[in-house]
């Protein structure tokens, strides 16, 4: 019989998130699932409500993209009691692993480390970096920061000299970068490390308007690989972006089906991401547009 699967998404806070939702939905349709979608609008409490509504409806499985890593024990126990398996996507949980089937996703710490490593190579280990964070306290931000810090710790010539929140947006990124350029001086900044592409796009604008050449005078690295960043990169304004795969649905559904079939599923499934450089940017942009 066809499976009924509920998908609890965090919200639609970014283009990447929308792409993720769409990809997952398309995958479910391709498999002929009865697919139920709940958008939590960026609130954990709404995600909990959605899980409970799926429990009441008696779905066959729940796919959860947790907004935060903590606070799930109770509701996951309820799902467990109702015999409904839960698969995590996008990020993991700080919970008893027996409460979910598996966790599909990328590794934020790893991503931070990859960017750090790229920057270390590019600048030969000497670089004053400014950081554009997303919202304070976002899990992704904390882990990427940690991974990044782990790497640059090894290079005495590398340090983060300023850090601010650009609230995930290009206007925010631009505004913060403008202030950095004034207060620190463009010539004293070697690279920008933006926690998402949008802020990188804004930062590049600010650098340009200050009469400097982004990606040459100041390096720019970011995460997400949204479509628009490839355009900017192709224009030679940012240096690197890290892809976060929005195609996690297939892996999650596979795991769910395997679990329902009584097979063993590994607790952690990592979907690969990769760095993208200006060389392939134009091509990627054309492909993704």
């Amino acid at each position: 019989a066809e499976l009924t699967v509920g998908f609890v998404q965090t919200g639609s806070e970014s283009g990447w998130r929308t792409a993720f939702t769409n990809a997952t939905k398309a995958e479910a349709e391709a498999r002929g699932y009865d697919f139920k979608f709940a958008d939590a609008q960026g609130k954990q409490e709404n995600q909990i409500k959605a899980i409970r509504s799926f429990i009441v409806q008696g779905v066959d499985g729940i796919v959860l993209a947790p907004l935060v890593t903590t606070g799930w024990d109770k509701v996951l126990k309820e799902a467990d009691r109702a015999g409904i398996p839960v698969v995590l996507v996008d990020r993991g949980l700080d919970s008893d692993p027996s409460l979910y089937v598996t966790s599909v996703g990328s590794d934020f710490t790893m991503e931070g480390a990859m960017i750090g490593a790229w920057m270390a190579v590019e600048t030969e280990g000497t670089c004053d970096i400014v950081e554009l964070q997303g919202a304070v306290g976002a899990d992704a931000a904390i882990k990427r920061q940690a991974g990044f810090a782990n790497v640059i710790e090894n290079f005495p010539g590398m340090q983060i000299i300023a850090s601010q929140t650009g609230s995930w947006s290009s206007t925010g990124g631009k505004e913060v970068m403008e202030s950095f350029l004034k207060s620190i001086g463009g010539e004293n900044i070697c690279a920008v490390w933006a926690h998402n592409d949008n802020m990188a796009i804004g930062a590049a604008q600010a650098i340009k308007e200050a009469g400097l050449q982004p990606s040459e005078d100041i390096l720019i690295a970011s995460v997400d690989a949204i479509t628009d960043i490839f355009k900017t990169m192709a224009d030679g304004e940012t240096n690197v972006t890290l892809e976060l795969s929005p195609y996690q649905g297939a892996a999650a559904f596979d795991a769910l089906e395997a679990h329902l079939a009584g097979e063993d599923v590994p607790k952690r499934i990592t979907v690969p991401g990769g760095l993208f450089y200006p060389e392939t940017a134009a091509e990627e942009y054309a492909r993704r547009k």
Binding site: T21, S167, T171, E175, S183, N198
Partner: protein
């Protein structure tokens, strides 16, 4: 002393201006770089210029908000209107061959239409403003996502670049736009009777009805105007970075706009509208933000700093403090004579 006496005609008017000046002066003493303005590549360059440039969207929205608040209303939907109109403008630029002028007109018209929906809900159906506009605040971003299909839209447009970061007479174009809008608004409000009617409706809607003012029409007008202002801000915001990110565009702008109006002395209970001071209010907020960004305060202290300074400004301006200062002055004078 004479001078000060002249200034103290109305603490309500001088409060916000002096607060702004005080913040800038204090910051200038701590960090002279903050107040330095250079002339470089045919344009002015400096943190204070950034403040002006960055404040324009908030200031423009706050103008509309001031008028709405004058009618004893509130418009929570402006952030979403920014997103919708940004989306409309971006889509029109990328997907059609319309001239830039038509794009502008259509985008602003979209804002006007949404404002009209708000206006109808508030003044003709009688829904409380905060709820009526909350409806569009929630669903408006959804509409914006529908328009672009949920993705962000980047575009190339010379005209938009000019709006976003162009210069005219060495001053950013968007400052001209904001100044023009302010002037136009003041003209419309003060050289016609609209301003009087709106203030009257806001201060006492019943009495206004008795004198034959069509309260509903003018309330409606206020929301339409607010919608158009938000649309204009939306266009400026996307022009700034050449990309319309509907998911975050204009998020929480309504709070800053309301804050600007209230800092300017506007009362949420309706009545007097202070257009010029509203701009000052927006500048105060932006100055704070820019100071926080350029001063190296750790991120997690941003909000505390902002809240503390706002509170300080409010406390100094408050009627109670003013009265206490006056008392003190009187006593001092009393001792002297």
């Amino acid at each position: 002393m004479m001078n000060l006496k002249g200034l103290s005609i109305n603490p309500k008017i001088w409060g916000p201006i002096l607060s702004l000046v005080a913040i800038i002066v204090i910051m200038g003493i701590i960090d002279p770089g903050f107040v330095r303005i250079e002339f470089k590549d045919g344009r002015f360059y400096g943190s204070l210029i950034d403040v002006l440039v960055r404040a324009t969207p908030t200031a423009i929205i706050a103008l509309g908000m001031a008028v709405v608040i004058g009618t004893r209303g509130i418009d929570l939907s402006v952030g979403s209107v920014v997103a919708i109109c940004g989306a409309v403008a971006a889509m029109l630029i990328t997907e059609t061959d319309l001239s830039f002028a038509s794009v502008m007109v259509l985008s602003l018209a979209a804002g006007g239409v949404i404002g009209m929906l708000n206006g109808i809900m508030v003044s003709y159906i009688g829904i409380q403003p905060i709820i009526a506009t909350l409806i569009l605040m929630v669903s408006g971003r959804g509409i914006a996502q529908l328009i672009t299909g949920g993705r962000s839209v980047s575009f190339d447009s010379v005209a938009m670049d000019i709006i976003g970061s162009g210069m005219f007479l060495a001053i950013p174009v968007r400052i001209w736009i904001a100044a023009g809008l302010l002037l136009l608004t003041i003209l419309v409000m003060r050289k016609t009777a609209i301003g009087l009617f709106i203030e009257s409706v806001g201060a006492n809607a019943r009495a206004s009805r008795y004198v034959g003012i069509e309260a509903r029409l003018f309330k409606m007008f206020a929301y339409v105007f607010s919608g158009i202002c938000a649309a204009l801000a939306g266009v400026i915001l996307i022009a700034d970075v050449g990309i319309a990110e509907i998911n975050r565009l204009g998020l929480w702008l309504e709070l800053d706009a309301i804050l600007a109006v209230v800092l300017a002395g506007g009362s949420l209970n309706g009545g007097r509208i202070y257009l010029g001071l509203t701009i000052i209010g927006a500048l105060i907020i932006q100055t704070l933000t820019t100071i926080i960004f350029s001063s190296g305060v750790p991120v997690e202290y941003n909000l505390i700093v902002k809240a503390s300074i706002i509170l300080a400004v409010l406390l100094v301006q408050s009627p109670t403090t003013q009265a206490a200062i006056k008392d003190l002055n009187m006593k001092r004078k009393g001792v002297r004579t």
